[in-house]
Amino acid sequence: MTADTLSAILVSGIVLGSVYALMASGLSLVWSTLGIFNFAHGVLMTLGAYVAWTVSDAAGLGLWIGAGVAVGIAAVIGVGILMERLVVRPFYDNRDILLITVMTTLAVMIFLEKGIQLVWGARLKQLTPIAPGQVDFLGTTISAQEMLIIVVAPILMVALGAFLRWSRIGRGIRAVGQNANAARLIGIGVSQLFVVTFALSAALAALTGILLGSVRLLTPTFGAEPLVKALIIVIFGGLGSLGGTVAASYLIGILEAALIFVIGIYWAPSMIFVLLIVVLLFRPQGLFGKVVR
């Protein structure tokens, strides 16, 4: 293997990993703190990208891409907050909240996905890149937008991690997910934090969608594949740890790139699944989850 191919694999792995980290962290935020699996996370990505497209593309309002980013994120935050109100809050105290919200968020996913198709149609669209052009990274040419993702992802992850670990609200969010009543008793506003968490996660989804929307192509089902990937990464990384999620993202990204090179793109996804199953056989608590019994 030459240095060139090695760097190509590495770069493509880092790009993939960064994308995965962005997608998975928003999902993991809601899941590991509130114990809710948000099936609509992927479609929130899609929505953010479409709104940004409408604002910034020539076929829409034709404004500056920055305006698209801002409006896209704001709109999706609004939807996230609405979601929390309508399909999560009514089930707070339900013992089966996990299963019920699987259903309600799945319903929201269907609703938004079909809604997007109604509004924007099914034809492919593409967002203007925030960063146009190409750059050289570790001896491999990639688009500047991908470079942007490589840079933004770790910064966001570190910020998010620090926020959850150290900030008052961040710690509160973690507490609320583990025991809402105990959290109330120390003066944490549980419903406010649910909202904050959903809003934060929605913002991450929108940003991911917008960043990815100029690298990939937009369709109403744009978010479906990322959702599945994120699901796998969040579980694999070990629940309840943002660090684990991020590490798993990059690990799987690089692994995927390497596997594509070694055994081809056809069998690479299956190979990853096989590896996942094997790893879970030996580490039933996920890759980075702690064993506690």
């Binding site: 710690r171 109330r184 008793l185 506003g189």
Partner: protein, 244 residues
Amino acid sequence: MSDAENALDVVELRAGYDAYDVLQGISIHVGPGERVGLFGPNGHGKTTLLNAISKIIPQRRGEVRFLGEPLGGLSAKQIVERGLIHVAQANHLFPDMEILETLELAAYTRRAHSQRAKNLDYVLKLFPRLAERRRQQCKTLSGGERQMLSIGVGLMCAPRMLMLDEPTLGLSPKLKDELAAAIDEISSQRMPLLLVEQDITFVLSLVDRMYLVDHGEIIREIDRRSGVDHDEIMDMYFGGHEAR
């Protein structure tokens, strides 16, 4: 009976779960700096009363005032901000958080935050075991250790009044004594106290006055100064089925 001086007034409170009321219009009060016990058989609404006061469950009818201020319009969070702290029964706290992290988090309100260092010192001194294990996750604690942490969390909230629900659950005899001494010390600084407890000796060693609860109602009020002892109370309650 109640006046603005009282720490806590509960008037004709009704609350419960689902379609039925556990509390059928209960009234109690805690005077300024007073230590009051709630005693009664299992499952008769003591915990429900505390839950309703701290708004873990809604107050359906009646009124609750803390330091003269009605709590009706306040949220659980605002009640904690006022300094009315409820240490829940058998609280499992935050399973994945470490002890120290939990204690630090507990000083969540602005007021509690400002006293964080002082209170943390106090708690860790009171329960040295917690200091030893500061990095251990809550879900791996032993029953007694978890109870210590629950009380510690309550203290970290900078209470102006404490409501303790069965604080001695699962504590060793020695620790019970130490806890009694600690509660005595805390509340002797005129911190009002509402104590729910099944260990009658423990209650009697601490409170000035106590209520006997039965089927969600107060059936009797006993003033400690009138000199009743626990056998009499047992008699009152259980009609002679006393433990040896």
